[in-house]
């Protein structure tokens, strides 16, 4: 086969990576400091997983008017609200922050759920042209400028599990009459109950006749969000710890310290990326960080393995030359694996849907940073830490 293979890195590269270590260390230190600063100055855009609150994803028939939706939702007085397009012009994500109260009698968990219901109700109302009138007792009328499908309404009421109600259409088909059962408590009527029942049916009918559909609702109460923060932290720190342990066990302590410093570098730069890009930091971000840690470690281990092998092979070669040799020998592999991983991640970013876009972006960044740190940080750090050749040779 006289095929010319695509080779990014020629087989006989001799790049002097060690020579540039000071530049790399200085550059990385600056980047790490910048990342820490931006974290403290800008903070990161915490999602509801960690902050509590709700995400509501809706779909509109026409391209959504974000301004209109914004003014409707802000009118509900739910504190800070974020509204943005999500995936397509017809899809909108509404995020409201954790609803708080100082009243110990009111459950904060419940408040989040009520807020989500308010948002839904307000949007359904704004995106439907039906109007209601209720006599406070058994009769309500739903009217619309156009014909209303009675089947839709009946189906909706049935799906609520309500059977004691009747819905009849007017002659022109533009309005529906709703007959509620009489609520009787101890032979006396209960107007409050009557109102409650009416409100339930009203909400369901608004939802049914509205042109907005609810795609996804997520509500996270304060209890769970606190726990998610803790378990996320534990997971990342745990991963760093166990990897350090593993490398220590397989190599020498210098290797394990070098590897973990490189990993910490990757994690900090990734957090810096979150601070600057304002990508939402949620549970998937923790998953991404853990995967980056795994990926970068993978890269580092490949280089370290080769350094150890070369140390045993060339007993007289000075350490900097050894490290350079090992990096050069693994350079083709390191770059090709980065490329194949990016080849899988870029379609995920482009076609995988809005929900995975942040995750894919984080991973792409992480693969780039992780590859860099394995070559320019993890390996040269060994020189600084002083590898003990004798221990390795006797291993």
């Amino acid at each position: 086969m006289a095929l010319a293979f695509v080779r990014l890195i020629p087989g006989d590269v001799h790049l002097r990576f060690i020579r540039y270590r000071k530049i790399a260390f200085a550059g990385s230190s600056l980047a790490v400091i910048a990342a820490i600063f931006s974290f403290f100055i800008f903070g990161i855009n915490l999602g509801i997983d960690f902050k509590g609150g709700g995400n509501i994803e809706i779909k509109t028939e026409q391209p959504a008017d974000l301004k209109k939706i914004g003014s409707i939702v802000r009118g509900l007085d739910l504190g800070e609200v974020e509204i943005r397009e999500f995936g397509s012009p017809n899809e909108v994500l509404i995020r409201f922050e954790r609803q708080e109260t100082t009243d110990p009698e009111i459950s904060e968990e419940r408040l989040q759920q009520e807020a989500a219901r308010k948002v839904h109700e307000a949007l359904y109302e704004a995106y439907s042209d039906i109007s209601f009138s209720f006599d406070g007792d058994q009769h309500a009328t739903i009217s619309s400028p156009a014909a209303l499908s009675i089947e839709k309404g009946e189906k909706a009421i049935e799906s609520m599990g309500l059977v004691g109600l009747t819905l009849t259409a007017s002659e022109d088909g533009k309005s529906l009459n709703l007959l509620l059962p009489k609520m009787v408590v101890d032979q006396k009527s209960g107007p409050e109950l009557q109102e409650k029942l009416y409100q339930q049916v009203r909400y369901k009918l608004l939802e049914t006749y509205s042109s907005v559909t609810s795609q996804r609702t997520e509500i996270v109460g304060p209890k769970v969000s606190g726990e998610l923060v803790r378990s996320g932290f534990t997971a990342v720190l745990g991963a760093l710890f166990f990897m350090m342990l593993y490398i220590w066990f397989r190599f020498e302590w210098q290797f394990s310290v070098g590897a973990v410093l490189a990993l910490a570098h990757d994690v900090i730069l990734t957090i810096g990326m979150f601070a600057i890009t304002r990508i939402e930091f949620n549970l998937a971000s923790i998953a991404a960080i853990l995967t980056i840690v795994g990926y970068s470690m993978n890269d580092t281990v490949v280089v370290y393995d080769r350094i150890r092998e070369k140390m045993r092979m060339y007993k007289k070669m000075p350490v900097p030359d050894l490290i350079d040799l090992a990096i050069n020998k693994t350079l083709a592999r390191t770059s090709i694996t980065s490329i194949t991983t990016l080849l899988a991640l870029i379609p995920l970013y482009a076609f995988g849907g809005e929900a995975l876009r942040g995750f894919a972006a984080t991973m792409i960044w992480g693969v780039l940073v992780g590859t860099y740190s394995s070559i320019f940080i993890a390996a040269p750090l060994l020189m600084l830490l002083g590898v003990n050749r004798e221990l390795i040779e006797n291993d």
């Binding site: 609702t217 991640l345 995920l348």
Partner: protein
Amino acid sequence: MLHFSRLKQFSIWFVVMLGLLFALPNFLPVNIRGDEKIASKIPGFLPSRTVNLGLDLQGGSYLLFEVDTDSVRTAKLETTKEEARQLLRSERPIIPARNFRISGNTVSFKLSRPDQMEMALKRLKPLNEIPAGQLISGNSDRPFEISSDAASGRISLKVTDATLTRLTKDAVVRSVEVIRNRITELGTKDPTILRQGNARIIVEVPGESDPVRIKNIIEKTAQMTFHMVDTSVSINEALAGRIPPGAKLVKTDNPAEPNLLVRRRVLVDGSDLVDAQQSFNQSGQPAVSFSFNSRGSIRFGNATAENVGRRFAILLDNESITAPVIRSPILGGSGIIDGGFTVTEANDLAVLLRAGALPAKLETLNERSVGAGLGQESIRAGAIALLVGFGAVMLYMVLAYGLFGFFANGALMVNLTLILGALSGLQATLTLPGIAGVILTIGMAVDANVLIFERIREELTLGRSPINAVETGFAKARSTILDANITTLIAAMLLLLFGSGPVQGFGVTLAIGIFTSVFTAFVFSRLLTSYWLLRARPKTLSL
């Protein structure tokens, strides 16, 4: 490295075939899968399960509840207080006591005559017996720490932490059962109800993207109790704070009589119910009819016989739903609750009563619901991303390694099949982040092959013969591949341990992907390479 014994070859192909077999049901069109006639023709030993889609992919609702441990404690203390009062009066002479108080985990009261202390403690003994179940499990914690002060006549009963933990656990276990009954009665399909940790319950209902009704029916504790109405003081006096001992104020859902004073003593409770059905009362209003077991019938009969002309209240979750006057003794053990319901409300109440009472209050902590349409869209987007990524990686591998690239691609295809097979066989849940995990695995799986091929290239430049170079390449790459994958596995394991919901799904596919990648890249592609090398016996290797 390149020699495979027959047994080894067989085992490798066996694993590949097994993966294929487990993956196969996923490729059957849905209408065939669901067709019973066709399904019955497929032999039973063949795997038939398909990948379990997470709620974010198939649409549905996820709810996380927490049992309110405070309500468990309060209930225990309340009953203890009543029981203590009863025990002190159970025999002659009656031991008078006052100042019954509940604070923290303690019930305390004062004997009117401190010299009756010894007798009082003796009578209270049954309260502090070790529950039967605990003796068997070797746990001998008594429910209370009892302390007494002979001088003042004060006795305090402190519930131990161990008892509270046991009660909570008990409440959670029973709640899971009750919730299962209720949801089954509602007729939803394939609900999952799981206990999580000490006090939490996960409810997943596929296909139901509106969790409101489910939540409504789950959060009702449905503790039904019958009490006599207390008429010793007027309701206004009671509201002003003069509540007679042994009585309590409850809310009603009747605006004309928003509060009611009832005796604390429970005449009969829901645990004696044997059936509840939605029915209609004489005036045609929806109502719930119920019947008691024999114990309940006798108690209810006696109580109504003694109290003709007075009112009793039926409390549901401590709220009066009706308080009728007893016109005549109700001896048959059945009755009707007439609380001004709609037919649905009456029906739901009957469901709740049949399914049993929740032992404690539940609170929703976390709620996620996804419409079926969005789930479909996510699957489609994920599949496109997967195919494009898969194609790009395969193309690149061929461009970079030629024939060896094909070996790697063969391994990659088998890898995907194995992941699918493992997900179906283990019935692990595939979530949206899980799909991302599979896509990422594709990119990272070829890493092992890249390591090997680069190594072979190096060995070739050192002047080794093709077979020798391939042999050494695989051998030298082995420890690196293991080291590299174990570190990624550590990350995946931590995700499984600490992740929740969809993210755990990512950990699952990542972990499965690591195992299948090592197998396909290191073992399967080596087998393919060895077949080719032994057959073609190339003089030079183009790599």
